[in-house]
């Protein structure tokens, strides 16, 4: 990657960093995009069109993490990343919402194999490439624990 997001920050004065979760191919100028970008007077339509075009390759409605950097001159850049780990965990466990009291109420359980598969998927995300599978697994287990999903060796 020629320029990282950090270099971009050094180049132009940054106004704000906006993180969103937007369903792939379905960005509209309504929430979550609308209020977040509208507040900084960013070109919503252009973002929606661009984001939708770039996420055509993913299954529709998959929630993608987007990080936008808004610059002081009203321009912006954005990067599309893979869906959040919590979403993968919920899909794998077949649950809608995480536990209300993690640590006390366990909602579901997954095996190490699930964790490994998710880690492999996450590694294809260029922003996690530098992490080893082991480190990714550990962080996924951490997220699972905070959601009330138990990780066991074998189901």
């Amino acid at each position: 990657m020629a320029t990282t997001l950090k270099d971009a920050v050094a180049r132009k004065p940054v106004l704000a960093t906006i993180r969103l979760i937007v369903p792939a191919g379905a960005a509209r100028p309504a929430p979550p995009v609308g209020p977040a970008l509208g507040f900084y007077r960013l070109n919503l339509m252009a973002f929606c069109k661009d984001f939708n075009a770039r996420t055509q390759k993913y299954k529709a409605e998959t929630p993608m993490q987007v990080t936008l950097t808004a610059y002081k001159d009203s321009t912006f850049e954005f990067v599309v990343k893979s869906p959040p780990v919590s979403w993968f965990l919920k899909k794998a466990a077949g649950i809608e919402t995480a536990s209300g009291r993690p640590g006390h109420n366990m909602v579901s359980s997954l095996t190490l194999r699930h964790v490994y598969e998710i880690a492999k998927l996450k590694q294809s995300d260029p922003y996690c490439k530098h992490m080893s599978i082991e480190a990714l697994c550990k962080s996924i287990i951490g997220t699972a624990n905070s959601m009330g999903i138990e990780i066991v060796k074998d189901l």
């Binding site: 979760i21 609308g34 661009d50 912006f76």
Partner: protein, 399 residues
């Protein structure tokens, strides 16, 4: 009645209490919008199928896009309401301003997104200067339990303190009526301009297309719109019939008419687009029998939807008229997205007459091969033009 409160941390519990009371009394319990409706499965394989073939090594998988935010998004006020079709547009949202330590901002934002926030904005970290704390603004859908979300996020981020926050309710329409003054007239090429409704054309002699953008696509400054307008410039000689597939603001249809086409037809699946196109048609003084607009259902079969034109007559035969016009258009322009283009190949081609020009856009340069593959069955003399990483593919329909 209220106990004396020391400033600082002790204020937080009191504030929380007030918030809870406020939230409980002001908003009825609305079910939080479900983010995904796809069926859940405990097997692994669906997970792997989620991401289709990995992005090519060249593209690297993550993309950057520089955008100029000169476009203002104004609510379509034809008919008065901005919240005509989608209820999302008018429902209020919760804007939560959270203060936390600078170094915790990253992790806390992650946590917030995990636990229900729809977006998290961090104001520029560098500008905070010597301040220890910065503010994160987070947006939640109406009715979400902000308090538990913030505390879950804080504990998962490993913060030992509970960040102080304040909630305010934002209304959707505010951001839509955003700075119109920053939206500039766009010059597509010499002699062709797209002007926002509230500006005067800098070159009165040129072909000026006046647009009120509203909530539809097609404001003139996106590269794909420019590509299509340039194509129309080359191909419209006079007297053609154009079909604008996915008309948005109607910019392409209006442009063609101004360049000398005989008839423009615009179709779209989004009612807001059709309303916006109707308004723009009137702004440009286009006669209603020169430009027809249809709202088509998403399965792209124009069944029996009424024809929406200037006189707002609901002709029940509208859909049939559209169907019967298949195979009669000299030019078909479709500026949408890759997936719809691939699914609707036959429908799009079907509208063009043999030898007619078909132009498709809204695709990135890297997506061109796929489109070419799908369309080469029906088109010959295929050529591709590009601006800024966006491409437009055109060809003429095989006889």
């Amino acid at each position: 009645m209220l106990p004396l409160v020391r400033p600082g941390r002790a204020a937080a519990p009191l504030r929380r209490l007030c918030r809870r009371i406020l939230l409980l009394s002001s908003s009825p319990q609305t079910p939080s919008p479900s983010s995904s409706s796809s069926p859940y499965s405990t097997k692994i394989s669906p997970l792997l199928l989620l991401l289709s073939p990995r992005p090519s090594p060249a593209s690297g998988g993550a993309w950057r896009w520089r955008g100029v935010s000169s476009c203002a998004v104004r609510a379509v006020d034809v008919g008065g309401e901005a919240a005509s079709t989608s209820s999302d547009l008018s429902s209020p949202y919760l804007s939560v301003r959270i203060r936390c330590r600078k170094e915790d901002a990253e992790v806390l934002s992650e946590g917030l997104l995990c636990f229900g926030a729809t977006s998290v904005t961090v104001d520029d970290i560098a500008a905070a200067g010597n301040l220890d704390e910065i503010t994160i603004t987070s947006i939640y859908a109406h009715g979400e339990d902000v308090d538990s979300s913030v505390s879950n996020a804080a504990s998962s981020a490993g913060l030992e303190y509970k960040p102080v926050y304040e909630t305010s309710v934002g209304k959707q329409c505010d951001w839509v009526t955003v700075v119109q003054e920053t939206y500039e007239s766009t010059k597509v090429i010499n002699g062709l301009w797209v002007i926002p409704k509230w500006r005067t054309p800098p070159d009165p002699q040129a072909i000026n297309i006046i647009i009120n953008p509203g909530l539809a696509f097609g404001t003139g400054e996106h590269p794909t719109t420019k590509l299509c307008l340039l194509l129309l410039r080359e191909t419209v000689k006079g007297g053609e019939r154009l079909l604008d597939y996915g008309t948005g603001t109607g910019v392409l249809g209006i442009a063609a008419l101004k360049m000398g086409a005989a008839l423009s037809t615009g179709i779209d699946i989004d009612p807001q687009a059709v309303t916006s196109a109707c308004e723009n048609m009137m702004l440009n003084g286009i006669d209603s029998n020169k430009m027809l607009l249809y709202l088509v259902p998403t399965n792209a079969q124009a069944a029996c939807f009424p024809n929406i034109d200037k006189s707002e007559e609901n002709k029940p035969t509208g859909g049939l008229e559209l169907k019967s016009s298949k195979g009669s258009y000299d030019i078909v322009a479709a500026n949408i997205l890759l997936n719809p283009l691939l699914e609707l190949v036959e429908d799009i081609i079907g509208y063009a007459k043999p030898g007619g020009i078909v132009a498709v856009s809204g695709i990135l340069t890297e997506q061109v091969p796929k489109v070419e593959e799908a369309y080469s069955r029906y088109l010959e003399n295929i050529s591709v033009s590009e601006i800024d990483g966006w491409a437009c593919l055109q060809g003429s329909r095989k006889a």
